[in-house]
Structure formats: structure tokens, C-alpha cells
Symmetry: D2
Subunit: 348 residues, 4 copies
């Protein structure tokens, strides 16, 4: 792939000239929006090909030729890890883990507010809750829909916590975006390219869950669809992959946490609830995720798991969650005191 | 799940009464359209629960309680296998295998027409070709789009063959449906429930590919979304699952062919091209699929694979394809002569 | 890897000289017995390294440098496919499929003889039956042991059919070899290197089952352990791999049949019984395996599956088996008449 | 399964009477040695069957009927977690994590001693090192064999650290046992039942690695083979399972740590080196394993990874290892101070 980065002060005309030259040379290309500027990407370029001609074009800042198919998501082109602002004053990737918590599905006003207040007191900074639920069969509870969105807004007004919720189509994304702080793409839609393209054009951070059998490259390429549209705020969320062992709902692949840290600047969070499907494994795997270097967690908490309409067996009670947060905090500070802003060594 | 089947002559009022009774009992429910009538489905029913009350309601034909989450797709509720008409005079599941063939992507008028004529002469009955291509990263060739659809229509006009093409969103499905005979859902979108719901409302057969790591139940539940919307024409297409071995692009899971025959009335076809990713494995696996009892094949054929913009290494030449068709025909008739309409024994 | 092939008339001294030169150059090496001569193999050789010096040594026939780690099992070094004699007058790989059939476990004289006679009448050429059974937990029926071996010998004496049985350790292999015609290595022992080395030194064909999650390369490398010991008669048996879907016991990976044909000269057979774990899938998958080009089948048949001590649900009755054999024969001849000695095209 | 536990003071005759009654009732059975007494196990018992008759037999302490196929390894029959003495004064499972470290393969006196001293100084309590190496193909370095065992003994004499090494067959196990403190079963041999039976009769702790695609039940059933032979000292070692993603050598399945804690009393350790295959992921995954509640670690450390004959890319340097140990210790104490002897909640 050839990546032509336009300089900050470059003009529309400079950009057009690069594109014309690409087209003239018989190369397909795509203009991508990136950090403060435009990129012209062409996949019709072999490695080792001469990139010099484009360097001389006016308005071109740099030209790279790479085998990587997710350049904007890579550290090589996209740059180092850096804090990302998710909502006013709320950052991820600034050294302090960010915990998003709440019920799997928004079920009622009472359930949502009780859970929201509880998780906030325990230290969560973002409220999660599903209004539109992806369900394997059409007869299962599909979420409260727009009523759920209204309840999430009310919970935000009450607690001040930003909210994250899942969207399953471009239409839903466009409809939900004005109301909700962070939009989530579920595992089943990780390669719903139509949805990803729409999210690239919206001004909302995206929590992108890993597909059930997605490789790390496919996941970063899915993120690239969003980044290429100009939306730089993508958070990667590991939620378990599908394997042969059925003792847990999925197989939490925690090694991707340090692995992604070496490949991308995007923040990485872990969802131990969907990964394991069993509440009693959520606390140990949350601690493990933070010990592995995750930037945050997404945890299902319910004020009354036994009555949950969806995924009760994997939800923590408010007490379990508060206990986990205390332990996580002690652990984090012990690791951090030893080595502020703990990061794995990337090269030997 | 409780499945209340309304009788053929039942009225809207009969239906409403069942629904009201469901709601009154605190049960969620969904009205599904099925073979010549309506169904009221409720997942809020435990197995063994008394179904008698609903039997006495006017307009109710039958009431079943089942653990199966894809009742319309099942043989139990949905009935026996039966031929399905895909386009005027074109049937699948009538005993004779149906072969769909053509290029991975529509690339040009010349390429499409040459390939279409070639596969037709060799015995293919449906032309396949992608106009909208799902690609892992945003910089790869994404298909010719509406221009591709126009070329497919031209190829149909020239050869008389119905055409099948992939759609990736509700919007695309609605736009493409008036022009194209059969709509394909790709592996990555098998659980794009928004798309499935839209397809349930369109009057077009749907070729539903298995997701890369979908279980057979999840696949049938995805089909159920379409069936529940009133569209009865769903064809299941096995195209390989993801496994640890990377010698083939995917792992063709041929055992699902006879397995599905025992579970569902829907026709089952096999795509050996995406399953293996290697042209030299396509012919043996095509024969294997038919020997296992598949109702048809979806095969990638290109008039000049070396020049293909997409998936050349897995495309057969026209000569390879013609050779395969001759062999397949001999094999099929030998099996069929021995035992007309060969089907595996379903119960001992 | 460097492969130095000694010429047929070469002396022990010639061999020693090659070895000394390897050692003198600081390379580790291993002397392997191959088709009618010795090989000196060294893994301490980079691709592209100069092989000329060894070519000039007396007694050296050829020198190759390859990235392949299973040279004797490869077509490149090990040669083309060729018929293999398994017992007096019994060949595999000669164009006619060879079927091995019998019960999972030898249970009694009556059961074994009834099954043996039945499968022979239907066209099986080898009797299979387990005397030593690998079982996941120590409290399950572990086979009749030496008594089972005696019964297998009696069944052979009665029917004239050679027999194949599983061995699980070097000790068992050495003890069983004088009594039994073909030794089987089960999936769990595919990388029991101690057992493989012992089998390399015995004069008995080995039926080497694929490990539950073995790649094709690992499988061929396991075969290489046997070949390198001087035993050239290895048959590869696909029996399903482990995947996420639990509708079948394993996932039959039939694409490896044509794939292996392009990589190795060793014969390839398929066990549809363990692969599927369901008797009603055995016949369709047997036909599929032969259509894909397999050299033979290994099928579980029991004179009374309902009473089987082991794997009854995957065993065919004698009638089912006879029916399958008739169909297989018709199918095979139709394919073969069209193109005698059907093989997939290996290069375009 | 029926489990008859004999009382401590029961006689041989009491045991025989239970066995005779089992046999008389047409049940197969196996006598297993367990904690301070004998068990008679029979798999020929359906759940719900009456166990009363055996309760009345003399010398019988208890009778249980269970669906679990690894009773001695279960908490239900085998009891609560408890510290296990591995060598004089060396315990595992006593609340303090135990770290085993050393090179993948013993290569030379110098390499082994330098590494042994280094890991000891950093806090490792057991020295690991392979003398017999399982290698996928027969031409790779297979280990120093008996010379390697001698070097391990020398390193133990010098440092005082007990040593653990892999054995691959019954013969090797019997030969190595008198010289080495802890015997390791590799992933490829997890279901080498002949080896497991031999280890059940030896007086040495066994480090039982999980098979590459073994379920948790199969793993515990493999442990049961050893326990049933009378050897109570089995340590379970998670080392990654095989999945579709090839960015790491295997997929570390850390959720099994808390899961196993709820199922078995056996200690659980984690090998992050084989799991990831990449040294830069070893430290984060080591911390994650301890945070998840592992009883210890098995870490590959080499005094000079660049020169390692085997698995250099996954070996830590001595400095990396020392750094990891410091961090692990801080983290562990922070977690432990909060909640001494941290264990996940097992029941809600």
C-alpha cells in the first residue's frame, strides 16, 4: 500500500493533483481523513515501489510504502499511543484505567437508575446499557429501542455519566448519535462495512468489539474503515473469541492487550462479562485484563441479576462490582507506583 | 418457545385475540408470517407448559411447544423439504442439482458476458457476480456498484439466466431487489439482523451464507429472521468455517449438508471456491458436495483467472468448469439411478 | 533443510564421510532410511545455501535444499504417488478404493465374527477392531487387550481378511506387531514421538490418524518420523478436526484429501465414523470422501449397534454398510469410466 | 459414575467384597488409590441409581453417584484445595505464587548454570529445563538426553533448587524419576494414557500441561489417570490452546484459572512463554495470570536468548525476568493485603 500524507496547509488542488496522478498511473486510490489532514491511499502498489515522484508534489508531507493494510490504525503511520477524549473531560489512555459498567439491556427506569447510581459510586466513569439488542433468534427480547435511549439520557442527566450503547445499522447509528456519547459496534457487526462507513462520518467515539472469529488484522482493518472516514476516536474492545471449549461462553484472548499496544495507538479495553458468560469469573478476569495493560474495562452490572431479562448469569451485583473496583484500584496503584505509566517493552 | 399457528381462514380479529391473550399473560410475542398463514411465537414459555388454552381460540390451527429457536426453519413446524421456485421455471430442491457460477466480482462488460456464456454452455443455471464487494480493508477494490448491477442485467438479457448478487445493507437490498433475481447475504453479514429483517419483507429468494464461525443453530436462526418476515425462499450456503489450519482459506464443513437435511426443509448448496480458496481443490470438493447430497453449488468461474481483480486463485477457468460439470453429471446420474432422489436415512 | 541422498551402490564409508563433513561443519544431522537407500538430513541449513560441496562426495546421488520439514513424505523428495502393498496381494493407492470396516471395539467372539463376515460380504477388504482403546477417563471400558488380539487373529483366519488395530505405546506396538497386519496410531497419539520412532523400525504398515488439531504439515512431519526410521508404509487417515460446532463429534476436513494428493505420495483414507459421530451421516460422508479422491475408507460397522460397548451411535448396521458399498461402487465406476484413475489437476 | 470410598481402617477383604458385588451385578469397576485410602469406581451406573446397598458394606466410608468423570480430581469427591509439597520444604498452593523458570532446552553446562543462578536470585523456586524435547519433525534438535539430566542434577546441587523436566514415554519417566524432582507431561502427550498410568505409580509430582485442543474436562480426566494410580501430586499447567489467530503461538486461555479453582483442588499454574511464543508478551501475561489467581508460573528464561537452540523468541533475559519478579511481587502483595489468600467467590 502507498500512503501519501498531505501537509497541514495543503490545498484542495494539491490533493486533486495527487489523485489525478494516481488515476493517470492506473492506480485505484481512496482519500482518507486522518489526524489533522488528508491521506491518499492506494492498494495498487507493490512493496519496494518507488515513492519518490509523489514526494516532490506540492502539499505532500510524506510518502510511505507499507505491507500493512490498516495504516491509520498502525503506530507506523498513525503515530504513538495518546490520550483520547471521549466526552467533555473524560479521557481514555491517560494512564488511569477507565471502567464502563451497567446492565446488558436497559429494562426499566428503576433498574437503570439504580444500577447507574451504584456503578458510579463504585468508580465507573461511563454507563453502559443496550437499547437495541442483537439476538440470535427473532423471538427473543430485542431491547426497549427508543424508550431505552430516553432512559439512558435520563440516567446521564441524573448521574452526569456519559453513556455507551450499541447500534446495529447505519440508520440506527444516525438516529442514536445525537443522543448518546459513545456508539458501540457489537461482535456480529465488526465487518458490517456499511455501518462502519457511517460511523466514520459521525462525531462520536466508537467502541468496536472484536468479531467472534476475527484476527487482530481484520479487527484493525475494521477500525481503519472508521478512521478513514475521518473519525479518529475508535476504542478496541476484546470480548472473547470462539473456540472449541464450551465451559466459558467465549475464550477471552487477553494476549491481544499487549499485542495491540505494540501495533496500534488506539486504546484497548476488555469485556470480561461477554467473554466468560459467568459472573464468578468476571472479577478475576477484570484484574487480569488490567494487569495485562488494558486501558479500561466494560463490565455488566445489574442491580438484581436474578431478574435480568438478558445475560443475568454474567452480571455482577452492585456489591460484587464495588469489591472488584477496590481491588482493581489497589492492584493498579501497586503496579503503577513501581513503574509509572506501565507499558510492556516493545522492542528488545 | 410456544408456536401458535393460525388457520387459513382465520381473521385479523382471531389473530389479535391470541396476541392480547399473550400480552395479558405477561408474555412477549412476535407475529411471524409463514406458509400461507400467520404464527404467533412466544419465547416466554417453558417446555412442558400447558398449550391447551390457545387451542380453543377461534382461528387457531395448532399450538406447539418446542425447545427449537427456529421453528419456521425446522421440519417439525416448517414441514418437509419441497422444491422451491427461484425464478420463472427455475427450481431448486427438485432432485436435480442447481449450479450457480460466475466471477467473484463483476469487472467489465467483456469479462462478465464471456464468463456468463461459458458457464451457461457448461450447464450452469444461475449467474453469480458481485457488484458490491465486502472487503476486509477500505482501500481494496469495492466492486463496480450500480454499474455492476447494470452489467448483470445485460448478461441476464443476453443469456436468459437469472442472476444472484450480494447485498450488504438494508438500503442496498431495497435498491437492488427490483433488478436482481436472487439476493445473497455474505458470511460477514449472517447476523446483520437489520439486513435480515429487510430481506424478510422483500419478494426475492435469499442465498444465506453461513457465518465464519456460526453454529448450525445460529445459521438456522438467522434464516428464521427472514422467514418470520414472510419471505419463505431462503437457500442455505455452506462456504467453509474458520479453523486453525491455514492450508485452505476456510475449512469446508461438508457434514452439515446431510445434517441440515435432517433439520430443515430449506435447500442447501455449497460454495467450494470460498471454502478452499484454491482452484485446484474446487472440482474435487464440488463432486464431494453433490455426493453428500447438496441441492446445488455456487462456483467461481472467470474467463481469465490470472487477470481477476478479486479471488483469481480460487476461480476455475471455463474449461475446468465444463470438465467438472461433465463429471458431476455422470456421478449424479449413477447415484440417482441406483436410488432416485437420493436422501440420507433420517431415522433408524 | 539439506537432504543428501546416497546412491544405491554407496558404501557405509561413503555415508560416514558425508556425516563427518556435516559434523565438521558444525551441523547437526540425522541419517534417515528411505526408498532403497540412505539419506543424510540436516536442519541446520538455510535456504539458498550452497549444496555443491556434497554433490562431489563419492556415493552421493543428489543433494537438495528445501524449506519442507517432511522431505521423505513429500512428492518433491519422496516421489510420486504409487500403489502400496499392505499385505500379501492387498494394495492401496492402485486406483480402486480400499475399505476397512469393523467394530469400534472387539467385544466378543460372536460380535467380531458376525461383523467380520458381514463386512467382507459387502466388499470390505480389511477388518478393523480395537483391542486397546484410548478412553478419556480411566473408568471407561478399555478394551479386551490381548484377548481382543486373539479374536482378531481368529477372525482373520476365518475370513482371510487382514486386520488393523490401534496401539498406544512402543511396548504395545512391539507386542502386537507379530500378530496384526496393520498398526493404527490414534488421533491422541499423532505426536507421541516415542511411539512413532518405534513404528519406524517395525515391518508393518501404519494407519496414522490426524491429530484433533494437527495442521497438515504437523501430520506429514509425524509421518516423517516413521519414514525416517525406514518404514515406508504409512497411510494417512483424516478423522475430523476439533472446531466450535458440536453438532458433529468432529469436523470432517475433506479438503485435505485433494490437498494431500498434491503434497505427498502417501495414500489418504477417511474415517467418517469418528469424524461425524452420527451413523446417519456416515454414508453421505463416505460417498463424499470417495468423490473427493480418497484412496479408501475406515468405517465402523457393528452387527448390533444398539448393544455396542463403545461408539454405537456412530456405527452402521451390516445392512446400512452393504447399501453404502453398492452406492459407492456405482459412483466410483461412473467417475472412473469418465476419467480412469481420477486425480485432481495439480498445476494449472 | 458410582464412587465407593473405603474407610481408613478397612481391610483388603472389605475391598474385595465391594468388588465382587460390583462384578456380580454385571458392573465393570476400577480400584483407584486416593487420599489415604482406596476407591472403587464404576462407570456402569446411571445417575439416580440407588447407592444404599453399598453403604451397608463393612469398611465402606461413603458412596456417591455423580455425572463427573474425574471424581478424584473434583472438589466434590477429592476435597478442597490444599497446599501440596513438591519437594522437601517446597510447597505450592499455600497462598504464595511459585515460579518455575529456566531455559526451554538444556544446551550446555555454562548456559544452564548461568540461567539457574540468575533465576534463583530473581526469586524462582524451581528450575525448569528440557533434556528430552518433543519436536514436530525428526530432524530438529531433540535435546541432550541423559547428558541434559546430568546437567540438571548439577544445577540442583549448585543452587539447591528442585528441577522439573519433560518425559515423553513410560520408559523415559521410569528412567528419569530417580534423578528429577518434578516430571512434566507436554501438551502433545496429555492423552498418552500409557504414560499417564506410569506416572500414577511413581512417587513424583507431575506438571500436566493442557493439550492443544483439550477441553477442561478432558484435562481433568487426564489428571484422573494419574490420581487413580495413587499419585496425588498433579499440577495443572495452562499453556495456550490452538485457535484461528496466528499472531501468538497459541491462545492463552486465562479464564480456566478461576474456572479450575471452582472445579478441582489441584493447583493451577500458567506458562505464558509457550502460550504466546513472544518474549515481549510474557511479562504482561505473567502478571495477568497471577491477577487471575494462578498458583504459579512456568517461565522460559535464557541467559542469552539470541543464541538459544530452541524457542529463543519466547525466552526472557535474566534482566527481564528479574524485573518481572519485582513487579509481580508488588502486585501480589497489594492484592493479598486487601484480601489475604485471594480467591474468587465460588458460589453466589
Amino acid at each position: 500500500m502507498m500512503v501519501v500524507e498531505m501537509a497541514e496547509g495543503s490545498t484542495r488542488r494539491d490533493l486533486d493533483r495527487v489523485c489525478e496522478s494516481m488515476a493517470g498511473g492506473g492506480r485505484s486510490y481512496k482519500v482518507a481523513a486522518g489526524r489533522g489532514g488528508a491521506y491518499v491511499m492506494s492498494a495498487d502498489v507493490a512493496c519496494g515501489e518507488e515513492s519518490a515522484p509523489f514526494r516532490a508534489f506540492p502539499g505532500v508531507r510524506s510518502v510511505s510504502v507499507t505491507t500493512c493494510c490498516h495504516p491509520l490504525a498502525s503506530r507506523e503511520i498513525g503515530g504513538e499511543s495518546r490520550p483520547m477524549e471521549l466526552a467533555r473531560g473524560l479521557w481514555i489512555g491517560d494512564g488511569e484505567p477507565l471502567v464502563m459498567a451497567g446492565p446488558c439491556a436497559v429494562e426499566s427506569r428503576k433498574q437503570l437508575l439504580a444500577t447507574a447510581e451504584g456503578v458510579q459510586q463504585a468508580g465507573a466513569r461511563v454507563l453502559r446499557g443496550g437499547a437495541f439488542k442483537p439476538r440470535s433468534h427473532p423471538y427473543a427480547f430485542q431491547g426497549l429501542g427508543s424508550e431505552g435511549i430516553a432512559l439512558l439520557k435520563e440516567a446521564r442527566a441524573t448521574t452526569g455519566m456519559p453513556v455507551v450503547t450499541e447500534v446495529m445499522s447505519s440508520e440506527e447509528a444516525e438516529w442514536v448519535a445525537p443522543h448518546i456519547d459513545i456508539l458501540q459496534v457489537g461482535a456480529r457487526n465488526m465487518q458490517n462495512f456499511s455501518l462502519l462507513r457511517t460511523l466514520g462520518e459521525l462525531d462520536r467515539p466508537v467502541l468496536l468489539k472484536r468479531g467472534m472469529c476475527a484476527t487482530v488484522e481484520e479487527w484493525l482493518q475494521a477500525a481503519e474503515y472508521i478512521l478513514a472516514g475521518g473519525n479518529e476516536r475508535v476504542i478496541l474492545c476484546e470480548r472473547g473469541i470462539r473456540s472449541f471449549d464450551k465451559n466459558t461462553r467465549n475464550t477471552l484472548d487477553l494476549s491481544v492487550v499487549p499485542l495491540l499496544k505494540s501495533m496500534t495507538h488506539l486504546p484497548v479495553v476488555v469485556d470480561p462479562s461477554h467473554a466468560t458468560g459467568r459472573w464468578e469469573l468476571v472479577a478475576p478476569m477484570s484484574l487480569a485484563a488490567l494487569a495485562a495493560g488494558a486501558d479500561g474495562l466494560v463490565v455488566e452490572v445489574h442491580c438484581d441479576p436474578a431478574e435480568a431479562l438478558c445475560d443475568g448469569p454474567q452480571s455482577l451485583t452492585l456489591d460484587d462490582f464495588a469489591h472488584l473496583m477496590t481491588r482493581a484500584s489497589k492492584m493498579f496503584h501497586a503496579l503503577n507506583e513501581e513503574e509509572p505509566s506501565w507499558r510492556m517493552p516493545i522492542a528488545r
